[in-house]
Symmetry: C2
């Protein structure tokens, strides 16, 4: 798989906004079983190897795990506050939990676990997210192993098939749409903002 053409403006945006830690956060929308949308902020964990798949992590106990299992389609909205530009990425999400039998994906899951901080790892041992607030002890478990991921730790791979890039700076604004065509190649089109 070759690097998609939207990777270059995205790389530039990440570079230009690099002094803002929140430039690596974006909003991921998925759909509930009742057909209603949900939306939350997640952290960009880089791309998977030489692919165009974005890495995200989640807790298997979170609502989005079950939502994605039922409806794997999602849309990322990534707004860069310094350069005032937005990327909307539509695509399919692959769940890589502890039961995933694909060895390559399981290795990817372990590598991400090893890369994140102790602070990020310990949250997977905290009390069940979204349930009635537990006692403080439920938030001070012993530090999890730094090599072998906890069962609750899940890697999400987001594979875009369409990317909509909008630059608010510009008079008028600039906007491009990138889409995968029938041959599996990316095509770009400049459109009206």
């Amino acid at each position: 798989m070759s690097i998609a053409p939207w990777r270059s403006p995205l790389k530039r945006a990440l570079h230009r906004n690099r002094n803002q830690p929140h430039s690596r956060y974006f909003q991921l929308a998925t759909v509930q079983i009742n057909g209603r949308p949900t939306n939350r902020t997640v952290v960009f964990r880089g791309f998977l190897g030489q692919t165009n798949k974005l890495k995200i992590i989640t807790d298997r106990r979170s609502d989005k795990f079950e939502q994605i299992r039922q409806q794997p389609w999602g849309e990322i909205c990534w707004y860069f506050t310094k350069t005032r530009e937005q990327f909307r990425l539509s695509g399919k999400i692959i769940l890589v939990d502890s039961n995933n039998s694909d060895q390559e994906l399981q290795t990817a899951r372990q590598l991400v676990w090893q890369e994140i901080s102790d602070n990020a790892r310990i949250q997977f041992a905290w009390a069940h997210p979204g349930e009635k607030r537990a006692n403080p002890e439920a938030f001070s478990p012993s530090l999890p192993d730094a090599i072998v991921p906890l069962d609750n730790f899940c890697l999400l791979l987001f594979e875009p098939v369409k990317v909509d890039h909008l630059e608010l700076r510009g008079e008028p604004q600039n906007r491009w749409i990138y889409m995968i065509n029938e041959l599996g190649n990316w095509e770009a089109l400049e459109v009206n903002p």
Copy 2:
């Protein structure tokens, strides 16, 4: 209708993040006719009078207009970068376009049109959003009337029924869920992050 209890932490967040213009932007997720989610950045235009309905504006020619007509449910994800807190608001969206026969809502639509800048108003006279990029002339129409809204101008009213407030600062993080109960009153519950 009384002011909902989540309005007070939201007001505080808006105040504490007021030096960042992007603190008034949030991501609105809706669902397409094919059941897949979409997600984009929009601008918060305040609350409607003494209600808990958030005001958003859009162009009738944008994809979300038709999406909301088919599936009025949405979720807002509002992340405040300075105080590191997130509000997720789930609710129903009311479309107030030029054909809406409710006089009170039509007046609200006109008032928002009058409040926005010339720069914001002129975009409703630009070439059709999302279509192949038009010539520069299509982006330099004459300035629209500042009193009577253009037909393309649509007010969205977002009426939350559930609000999920997460503070990333805090050890561990703090999280509250606000929901409307069967009697139409708001209830708050402190939950695990």
